[in-house]
Symmetry: C2
Subunit: 258 residues, 2 copies
């Protein structure tokens, strides 16, 4: 068995989330079905760096799986893409040591949230951008964002539907960029709780729309109460955009194998 | 009865073309169903400036219909959008004289064809751009385009599946623009035959890829033989982008009514 690290993108609109589901279409389900066909064995397993919710998109998301087949690494993407549906695309595959783990080895992630504030919605972007025909004050959003970065307990800014107990995470950067009506929010952090980026975005939107004072963010963080933060922004605007691994460790993983 | 001119956009990916079909989902079918609900009468009719094929998109496409209801024109878009599915959006509605006809009064149209030549396909654009991972020579394409503009019999550059007898049309402009790997071809003409833009695009692609000499275009036009032109490019890259009416006539239509 050799371990393979794949990078794949998917359009989340047609999936009930990343994670395998017994009856619904999922990204993991499609990948494992393709792996099952390649290996002529049902129930082939894969491990993802992250499990996105229904409607959330993935850009070059790292996933690992093991294979008994002697396929050269540059042939793997084609082998998988031939079997995968058109809303998933494997960009690259590389052999790594069998101690590499796509989820446990991840040191951080970057999520992107896209908003469009034009008065009219664009039918071609309805699955890819959150359309919010409102005037947003970037200064107020940046002020709220500054309070939200750092190391905090993010209980107030995540869904209570989780088994995770330790809710302390570190948000390195929240970058807010705007080009005409197109807004791109980038969240880079050590790790993210369930629906955390969508609650953060919902809160930033409320600050930008003048419905919430950016100065109240520290109190909301301290209260550890989800009810005090903003609404959960819709899934369609969210992208898992990057997963970071320790480069040295990654190089070792690759070297160890070669 | 008052006549209304509506401008609407639609994502063609989920429709079996613009035209109403007995069993398949169509843009016209959805619009007429919404009109039927508003007027509490089945089988309400509408007339479009153009009927796009399955998978082809529309941007602010003009459509007219008659109504017995005294709804102010600025309320019409909301009334329709509330009832329409998310892949159709009505931008605006205006009352026009009942002699206005969205199809017969059209003096010209502009179509856009989008191509992406990056090595890898983008899952988020699969319904909106023709992915063609090839190097294209813009000079050769422009040379072929120059031969294709003017007034010609376009039999060679359209599908034979049509009842239209007169195949002479005037192509005013074929503009080819490129930004990195994103190509936008704009076709402006007096009228277009069935699948004409897709056959023109397929031929321009073959010229750009070096598979066809741009200098042979005049012979192909003269031969009036579809078999001699290029392949029909896929529907996903095509957009009906503008329909032109005589401004004076349009102003008269609007004035006559007010």
């Amino acid at each position: 068995m050799r371990r393979i690290l794949a990078h794949l993108s998917y359009d989340g609109a047609g999936f009930h989330g990343y994670q395998r589901q017994p009856n619904d279409r999922s990204v993991q389900g499609e990948i494992e079905q393709a792996l099952g066909k390649i290996h002529k064995a049902d129930g082939w397993k894969s491990v993802s760096s992250g499990r996105t919710d229904s409607g959330v998109h993935g850009i070059r998301q790292p996933v690992h799986f093991d294979s008994s087949l002697a396929i050269p690494e540059d042939r793997w993407p084609k082998a998988l893409n031939t079997l995968l549906p058109k809303d998933i695309h494997v960009h690259s595959c590389q052999y790594v040591s069998s101690s590499f783990h796509a989820r446990y080895d991840a040191l951080g992630k970057e999520y992107i949230y896209r908003i469009n504030t034009a008065p009219e919605r664009n039918v071609f972007e309805r699955h890819y951008v959150h359309h919010l025909p409102k005037k947003l004050d970037i200064g107020a959003m940046q002020e709220a964002a500054a309070h939200l970065t750092g190391t905090h307990n993010y209980t107030s800014f995540s869904s209570p539907k989780t088994d995770v107990v330790d809710k302390v995470r570190t948000l390195f950067v929240i970058d807010i960029a705007k080009e005409k009506d197109d807004w791109t929010l980038r969240f880079t952090g050590s790790g993210f709780l369930y629906q955390m980026v969508r609650v953060l975005t919902g809160t930033l939107i409320e600050a930008g729309a003048g419905d919430r004072n950016p100065g109240e963010v520290p109190e909301i963080l301290a209260a550890e109460d989800r009810a005090l933060a903003g609404k959960t922004a819709p899934a369609c605007g969210l992208y898992l955009a990057q997963v970071f691994y320790e480069q040295k460790k990654m190089d070792d993983h690759i070297k160890k194998f070669q």
